[in-house]
Assembly symmetry: C2
Homo-oligomer: 307 residues x 2
């Protein structure tokens, strides 16, 4: 067995505080969100997407973005980002001193309209303005392409369309494009096809993958991406998540499950699984429900002896 | 994207009634087990492992093996099997008219002693007697190799050891060897390594894989096996399961999750996912708990539109 084909290191982008919490029926106190982020930072997570500057009426669960960022103590090793859907959002984010923003589009017109109320072309125009405005303040941007494999409204998505969008976003100046399986319906074969198309024009170090675990395929998809050299993975602690505009979508792939995979494969992340478990256990108590992570659920956290 | 590398058809061996129920703290009424098996047969599952003829004191949950088999109506399209640990078990199984038996060994000495109270050599000798005795009555045998990747006591298992055992079992006359990741700690890379070793001497059509989903890796492992041509997969409805002699082990990979993967990849099974869900929902009610299958848990069973 050779492990030479896999990246030696992978980076986890924790999106639980934003993607995980934006769909919770319960809106949590700002202090709870801040504690969640603090626990994640303690676990060694170096990239945390903390919130979204969407209109408060659109995502009321994240309406406290300013107050939350104000509560966070800067940790030098941790990069905190926030999603910014438009120029008004960028102004709010810049006023809070964020150093990184996330910008959104989708591979499906129908989903994009439902998710951010713009057609794809409109969202690209918005991203161009946001990225330019952010750059003026030394703020970096990460692009998201939602429904990159399957759209709940339009069905299967063409890989070439995703590749074209990613190339366009990189041209606009985002430093990373996160390719999203919003409803968790991608297969490892689909991941292979879409990444093959993406890698023709996008450098692998500019690509991240963003899997949801609705049907249990997320870890298989992550492994497929890892085999193809992708080393940046979005996840949420405990598998928190879902999407209000994607019926049937469950949470992001659980950070713990991803870390377990990487650990068993000898891929370094610098993140401590036990620390992420503590963050998830805290959130499970706050939300009053069990989180879907398999590793979190495993009784007594017994680990196989060979690692 | 090419699908030519994957088998066109896969076979699911439902082990929920045996592997799934042998570890439940609650012993279910025989009629409930019979109804579970009836629902699985209705769903189109063609291979069902119904019970074990282990000593009733060893697995009290399955002490009603005779009564259960007596309750089952023969369904021509369904092959019902039972695990047989020794000659006494074979006598009991033959008296019930079973047409197929499962025989057990492990790749780890320590696990084998704890699981079936024999060293590996002793279990091979027992299997030789059982398979010969079964053959005299026209009864086929399936072999299991437990802890084929990781043993909870001994750690990582050498692939060559597993390949040697599988070859020996096939030489003894089992028609299929099920390679088991008893504690769910195999990775897709480990699956690749062990199957590569196995395929040197074992025909792929004689191999089955048996994954547990303790850490969320089962579907990734199944996909790896499928890519290598393996087309027989053990699973349990809803992900029922666990192993009393493997601390930390959770259930088998859920039949629903496996079927969803196969369906999305265009691999035919002849099994209806909705029917398996009904069997799992019935068992969840009987056990009074949520079963771990992702697909079962997905709200409203919304399926992506492209399949």
């Amino acid at each position: 067995m050779t492990v030479s084909e896999l990246p030696a290191r992978a980076r986890v982008v924790e999106v639980g505080p934003r993607d995980g919490l934006q769909n919770q029926p319960k809106t949590l106190p700002t202090a709870v969100k801040a504690e969640f982020i603090r626990l994640l930072a303690d676990a060694g997570v170096a990239d945390i997407e903390a919130t979204s500057f969407a209109h408060p009426e659109r995502i009321p669960q994240l309406a406290d973005a300013e107050a939350l960022l104000d509560l966070l103590d800067p940790v030098p090793a941790v990069r905190v980002s926030a999603v910014v859907p438009n120029m008004r959002g960028l102004e709010r984010a810049l006023a809070c001193g964020v150093s990184r923003v996330g910008v959104l589009t989708a591979a499906s017109e129908t989903f994009n309209r439902k998710n951010i109320n713009m057609d794809v072309r409109g969202s690209i125009d918005a991203i161009r303005s946001i990225v330019a405005g952010a750059a003026e303040h030394g703020v970096s941007a990460r692009g998201y392409i939602s429904t990159a494999w399957v759209c709940p409204y339009e069905g299967a998505i063409d890989a070439a369309r995703v590749a074209g969008l990613a190339e366009e976003l990189l041209g606009i100046g985002v430093d990373e494009v996160s390719i999203g399986d919003t409803i968790g319906a991608a297969t490892p074969q689909g991941v292979e096809a879409t990444l093959t198309a993406l890698l023709v024009s996008c450098p692998v170090e500019r690509l991240a993958v963003h899997f949801h675990d609705t049907y249990g395929l997320a870890i298989a998809n992550a492994y497929q991406a890892l085999r193809m050299g992708v080393a940046t993975f979005d996840s949420s602690a405990g598998g928190l998540g879902g999407c209000p505009y994607a019926p049937g979508a469950m949470g992001n792939v659980a950070t713990e499950d991803l870390l377990y995979l990487f650990d068993r494969l000898g891929v370094e992340t610098g993140v401590r699984l036990g620390g992420v478990r503590r963050a998830s256990e805290y959130m499970a108590r706050q939300l009053g429900r069990t989180l879907p992570s398999r590793v979190l659920a495993t009784a007594a956290g017994i680990e196989p002896q060979d690692r």
